[in-house]
């Protein structure tokens, strides 16, 4: 197993007002090349801070300790070229006044040194790969003309346009309804497999993470609670907090909370 990235003693502190708030404390975690790793946690767990730290997107005001070694990459990663990032709200990561074809082409042109016409052709191919309906006319569309699920497909196309080694999806399906969410998760799984990418899937949803990932890391209050294979975390968690998360999940087979005596009519 080759580590794409080795995170060692990573500590991130944000300054809020006059106070220092620790968002991550002493995190050590390997991201194995080619794996699908899920990072799960509730609000304030530090899971998004971890994603931002890996992508080099932390705000300048944050204080960072520890290190991230990119032994599997052999160079300092560049966001866009080596790391593709998909956010929860795709409309916030796309330029509202640029056609979606140009936005995807721009990534390919910047990082792959393509000409505009080569990059435009690649954009169309990418829109086909993310299965956007009618890619020929979609390249000329603007983000606001698409539905939420379609916009997320475009954001994914832009994220993988330069052929990154690592794809980070930070709550990328959380704002979508269940049916669209399942489609986007299937799409991410397929693209990651086809391109041999490593996936870092950040989610609050333990069931969704378990369906997609081979390994799961559980975060709480800025600390790594435990990590393991998906089966190990789901069936034999060693930490009480992980069990709490598993037990709080309400699935299609959970015992009803309702007293089934029914309404007093």
């Amino acid at each position: 197993m080759i580590a794409l990235a080795s995170i060692r003693d990573l500590t991130v502190t944000y300054r809020r007002g006059g106070d220092a708030v620790a968002a991550l404390s002493n995190i050590s975690l390997d991201i194995v090349a080619g794996e699908r790793l899920a990072v799960i946690g509730e609000s304030g767990s530090g899971k998004s801070t971890l994603a931002l730290a890996i992508a080099g997107l932390l705000p300048a005001s944050s204080a960072v300790g520890g290190r991230i070694e990119w032994s599997g990459l052999g160079r300092i990663p560049l966001l866009g070229r080596d790391i593709g990032f998909v956010f929860q709200d795709p409309s916030a990561s796309l330029d509202p006044v640029m056609t979606i074809g140009k936005q995807i082409a721009e990534v390919a042109r910047t990082h792959l040194g393509l000409t505009w016409s080569q990059a435009d052709a690649r954009a169309k191919t990418l829109l086909e790969r993310v299965r956007l309906p009618d890619p020929d006319s979609a390249v000329h569309a603007f983000p606001h003309q698409l539905s939420g699920g379609q916009t997320q497909r475009v954001a994914i196309a832009a994220a993988i346009a330069a052929g990154p080694k690592l794809l980070i999806a930070d709550e990328a399906t959380s704002a979508l309804d269940t049916i669209v969410q399942a489609q986007i998760v299937a799409l991410i799984r397929q693209l990651v497999a086809e391109d041999g990418m490593t996936l870092l899937f950040i989610s609050h949803d333990i069931a969704l993470a378990a369906e997609l990932a081979e390994r799961i890391a559980v975060f709480r209050h800025g600390q790594l609670v435990e990590r393991g294979t998906t089966a190990g975390i789901v069936d034999a968690p060693t930490q009480a907090y992980t069990r709490t998360l598993l037990d709080a999940h309400i699935g299609l087979d959970s015992a009803p909370l309702l007293n089934r005596a029914g309404p007093a009519v």
């Binding site: 269940t178 998360l245 709080a248 299609l252 087979d253």
Partner: protein, 261 residues
Amino acid sequence: MSLLAVSNLTRRYRRGGKTVVAVDDVSFHIEPGETLALAGPSGSGKSTIARLVLRLIEPDAGAIEFEGDDFLALRGATLRARRARLQMVFQDPLAAFNPRATVARVLDDPLRIHDIASRTERPRRIAALLERVGLAADLAPRAIHEISGGQRQRVAIARAIATSPSLIVLDEAVSALDVSVRRQILDLLLDLQRQERIAYLFISHDLGVVRAVAHRVILLDAGRIAESGDARAVIDAPQSTIGKALVAAAPRLKRTTQDAS
């Protein structure tokens, strides 16, 4: 007599010269103390139905009968008085409240507007409401933006029950909460229902939660009722295309060992 009876409700929108039928000839009823869930994909009409029932928007056609009256015919003071019996909790309480208001102010408003308690009595009523939803009374002077999301949703529930409603519309009311908090809020809602026989119109995209808390469910697709019935029966064996798609898309946590607790 049903608590709420909705008949042939229709609401159209005009969008870019095109007419979209958001709610298309929908009929249903809710009995006292019952939870009826509305589920469906984005754009299926569930939130539009919630807003129609609350009379935040008016329908193009159809009738709404609430506590035996033609709810759509009520005007002015009569409508305001009846609104005390029909409350709401939304997904994001921060958007629903003035963020600079204190918890006490948020709870004082309904008591004052609906003339439920005198000025001197209201602080005691506010403390009792906070206790009722599992919050400490010393939370009252805190600003709404200072408290946690789970506390804020408890305040939203306290505000909703302040006027002794017979029906509360819960529009994705637990969707944005962390799983551990969500479970506590659902337990609170079920406790209140058992004790005070409040009915819920429970709007959610999460079929797992719907199956766990609702008596009956209506599955919506493109503004129409695709199927309806006992919540567990429908979700365990959906008959409609949209029902099958929703169930197939729900993430599953396959645990081989599970705590009996």
